[in-house]
Symmetry: C2
Subunit: 606 residues, 2 copies
């Protein structure tokens, strides 16, 4: 069975060499504890937990799946014990405020942890991951009593949380939510309705589960402006910090899914369940979306994780499996055939995976610094700081989530492809990565929704192109400085060209959309993918710049590592980045090509 | 449960309007029976069988899968009855020679049948599909006695066949085959060895199974020149046309796969099994490859089928599911929200599926005419004709198989994506299409192997670019004629440009490969995909040309159909064809980008 090895060398390269996290942490109020030694110790310990505890449960969890008996969900064998270790390690509270039992470390460290956990065992990582969503919502919108009652056990990991948004008739379009909340004399509410696709809706990992639920008050306006947010605990807290009476919320069924089978995806029935309002009435959606950017960065990890995992396993296979001879002559003359890693096309697949995994990780680490600043803004009650970094993150988030989850799927497919027919067989694990990853472009907003969020909201509506101007200015300034180094010059030139083109494309859409409102929807997907390729190119140049510098200094035992960075950057610029141009061409093609065909003319059976 | 509706309108458009099959059949010796009325009746009857019998078994077959008990494989419920109807309908012998009990119709009709069967229920269609491979091999290389004994019951469908090539240590690299064949005093052989990934290796559909097996004679030279071909029946024929003694070949286990679960993929153990040599000793691989091109066109169907099926289901869903409002204003003001078919990005996905399904089908129908001529050459013993059409088909086959199966996967993924989160749930069937389709780029030669076959063998080695020159000349001549029609002119101009570019790219690789032998492998994948996009563009122009002409004539009740053809052609040229340019750029990038990194520098764990 293949295993996961945390890419600590690459993580430390990004942390210490590319993004100078030591200085960044030193600048944060909450960064005092996050000294380089502490950070390294935490990452090493997290790597050990992921490699030794979570990774071995990845394939068995898929095989066994979750079970629903008498309304109670059982997770696969081993999950309870792994979760117990997770709680004992204090991992759930790593980046949570000390006031509620957390360790108060920077938010970015939570993301580094999540990447390792999600790569070793994505379905497992969803249980604590969903809890984080609930914790964030409570932290920002709960009152003091609610925080004391719920946030403390959630931070300890004794309790878990969920986010209950989707209903059978609506996912993206939450204005259609029907679940009702009737006020009671004691100030509580009774919730009635059905939620679906609720990850971690029920399970046996914790003694209680706190559902954060979108529902309508009796007098609520129609649509999105009439939705409120409620806490609905599985067991009502007894007021002493322990669990009391069972609430009228239950798992009606488990979805049978393509993948992430070890993650319980529940239909949740609320049958007059007791709930408590969080935040102001009818402003539930706004409250819900406060932390959407961070949640979506969490999902972007599911682009990087599968690329990394599938690459590790495909690389090991490509070094062992022997087939045919290399076109340029025998590489292993004593063997019956050459290892397939010597074939150019196998290398194309492996390097694509590597470029996606490492390029994507760099994008995450880049965004994680911004997340630290935004969270600090929240902690300090500094609305300006929150707004500033929320804007920066808000621009990057749909790119990270939309683009990286699409490329993660490509990487997972290529990993299967390296295995040939063996990739299709369950025991090798490659097809599981593909199945598990397939959800990533669907949940937390499909790729289409990310594309509209990016182009329609963040770029056009909110900033009239300003977000692109600001980001490309940063890119261009950085690229310009690298023009003097002959190794980096071709990359820098390409990036300068793309920075200009990105603005031009934005402008053309901005102007075109005035006359043709469909243009935004018609261009959005290509714009998203284009933005992703350029952003990843920027992060590859940043990595290449550091690698070139380290090689110049010489005498480093990591010389091979830096050479590999330069080679992978070159591969990215030469072989993947050209795709940006096909997106540039497609996005400007007339909307007519998408909109002219009447729905009834889309198919003719006879 | 979604159902399959055979796209008869589109099939008849290609048959009668684009490729003039009536005239083509009239020109064939075996085409006498294939009058337009007969062809239409056969297609309609096949459509009925696929829609009513095969399609309802598609999802249940996936759920139930195959079972192995005491060495005997049981197919899912309903498969036996469906197969009985298939045999009764005489479908297996549709294109088989009358001399052996077939109907003697043109080979192309077999492909049209296979497309419908494969779209309605790919896993089911593999059982008779594999038999066709065995039948073709026997027809071309068996002696008269072998043909009488085996070919007749195979043609009737009473018996089934398999192709036993792959072994645990080798798939592509068949020179590594180890299975041994010991000659016996009676002229038979005893075969010993293990074969894996044997589709239809055992099942309960027929009274006998005829394995065509690659094995080595005791004195055989090493490598590919020491492999011979054998018939190994599950039950030895009794000489009276019935089955006799059980042979020492058995299914050791069933592979647990990502998809095509209703198709039995067997490990086959040959324990001194009785076999009979077919064709000359040590020339087994050549015999095996004779019909490789037609077999691979059969697999290319698995690119078109899933695109069609996934499109049908996604289209139905997109018309029903309501979410948000169209950007250009409400389309269904009386409804709670607009159907998602009104969103540009959903249309992008649907039209991509449609363009792939219909463009791919046109590529199949185009190649099927060539297959008819090649088969006629075999029937007439006309080696020149065989060689001529084998060359033409040999060039197109890797493009069809490699390119269409890659695009079929994209189409299947987009169908899931249209369903949003619901696409991930098993009951909707969309994820099954993705899982079933995933095998298509792996078996019958991976995409990488198709790419090497195309660029390395067919284009460079065998014709020094001549194959591209010949095909692009045809394209350019056709395109030039369409320049006067303003609706077709932009497409024609683009195709003319691409025809020139395709030759130029070929020439640059031809010259470059003299100095750098890795260039062929490094460029192959991009060359294949580029070739596919240009070929599909040619077939879209051919369809658009007919549609424009029909619209000019006017008064046709199919006006909507022809307008949809033009609109889909426009979509293809504007939104999908630009990808060819990113492949053109990537394929000429230096081989260094793929080859420079030492295998041991591909990953650094710490």
């Amino acid at each position: 069975m293949p295993v996961y090895k945390a890419p600590l060398r690459d993580m430390k390269f990004l942390l210490n060499e590319v993004f100078d996290y030591p200085a960044h942490y030193a600048s944060l109020a909450c960064g005092e504890q996050a000294t380089p030694d502490i950070v390294e110790a935490i990452l090493n310990e997290c790597a050990r937990f992921c490699e030794e505890v979570l990774s071995p449960l990845y394939q068995p969890g898929d095989r066994e799946g979750c079970r629903l008996d008498n309304g109670e969900v059982t997770t696969p064998r081993g999950f309870r014990d792994a979760y117990r270790q997770y709680v004992q390690g204090g991992w759930q509270g790593l980046s949570a405020p000390e006031a509620y039992g957390g360790q108060g470390l920077p938010a970015s460290m939570g993301l580094f942890k999540q990447e390792m956990m999600g790569t070793a065992n994505w379905p497992f990582s969803m249980y604590p991951g969903l809890s984080l969503g609930a914790m964030n919502t409570l932290y920002l919108h709960g009152d003091d009593a609610q925080k004391q009652i719920y946030l403390v056990p959630l931070t300890e990991g004794r309790w878990a949380g969920t986010m209950c948004l989707t209903e059978p008739q609506c996912g993206t379009d939450l204005g259609q939510v029907k679940t009702r909340a009737e006020p009671q004399a004691d100030g509580s509410y009774r919730l009635t309705g059905t939620k679906m696709f609720i990850s971690s809706g029920d399970h046996d990992l914790t003694e209680n589960i706190i559902h954060i639920v979108l529902a309508r008050l009796p007098d609520a306006p129609k649509g999105t402006k009439g939705i409120s947010l409620f806490i609905v605990p599985k067991y009502l807290p007894d007021g002493q910090g322990a669990v009391g009476e069972r609430n009228a919320v239950s798992c009606g069924s488990l979805e049978e899914k393509m993948g992430i089978k070890a993650s319980a995806t529940c239909v949740m029935n609320f049958d007059g369940a007791t709930g408590f309002l969080i935040g102001p009435p009818n402003q539930g959606l706004e409250c819900m979306f406060t932390f959407m950017n961070t949640a979506r960065i969490g999902t972007a990890i599911q682009g990087v994780g599968p690329a990394e995992l599938s690459y590790q396993w495909a690389l090991a296979y490509a070094r062992e499996r022997r087939s045919m001879r290399a076109l340029s002559g025998k590489k292993e003359p004593d063997q019956v055939a050459d290892a397939i890693i010597h074939h150019a096309d196998v290398r194309r697949m492996l390097l694509t995976q590597k470029a996606i995994a490492e390029g994507g990780r760099a994008m995450l680490y880049y965004a994680a610094r911004l997340a630290d600043h935004m969270v600090e803004g929240h902690t300090q009650g500094d609305a300006d700081k929150v707004a500033k970094y929320d804007d920066k993150l808000g621009f990057l988030t749909p790119i990270l989530k939309g683009f990286l989850t699409e490329l993660g799927q490509e990487a997972a497919h290529l990993g299967m492809q390296v295995f040939g027919g063996h990739g299709y067989i369950r025991e090798h694990g490659m097809e599981q990565i593909v199945r598990d990853t397939r959800i990533a472009t669907l949940y937390e907003g499909t790729t289409g929704i990310q594309a509209l969020d990016l182009l329609g909201r963040k770029v056009l509506l909110m900033t009239r192109g300003g977000a692109v101007r600001e980001f490309t200015l940063k890119i261009a300034n950085f690229a310009r400085k690298q023009l003097t180094d002959p190794r980096l010059r071709p990359f820098a030139l390409e990036l300068l060209k793309l920075s200009g083109q990105w603005n031009l494309l934005t402008l053309r859409i901005l102007l075109g959309a005035r006359k043709d409102r469909d243009l935004v929807g018609a261009a959005a997907h290509d714009f998203l993918m284009y933005s992703g390729y350029v952003t990843m190119a920027y992060l590859w140049l940043r990595q290449a710049t550091v690698a070139a510098d380290r090689l110049d200094r010489g005498g480093d035992e990591s010389e091979g590592f830096y050479r590999a960075k330069l080679a992978t950057a070159e591969f990215y610029f030469e072989r993947l980045l050209p795709r940006a141009q096909s997106h540039a061409t497609s996005m400007l093609s007339p909307t007519r090509t998408l909109m002219q065909l009447a729905p009834e003319h889309m198919a003719f059976t006879d």
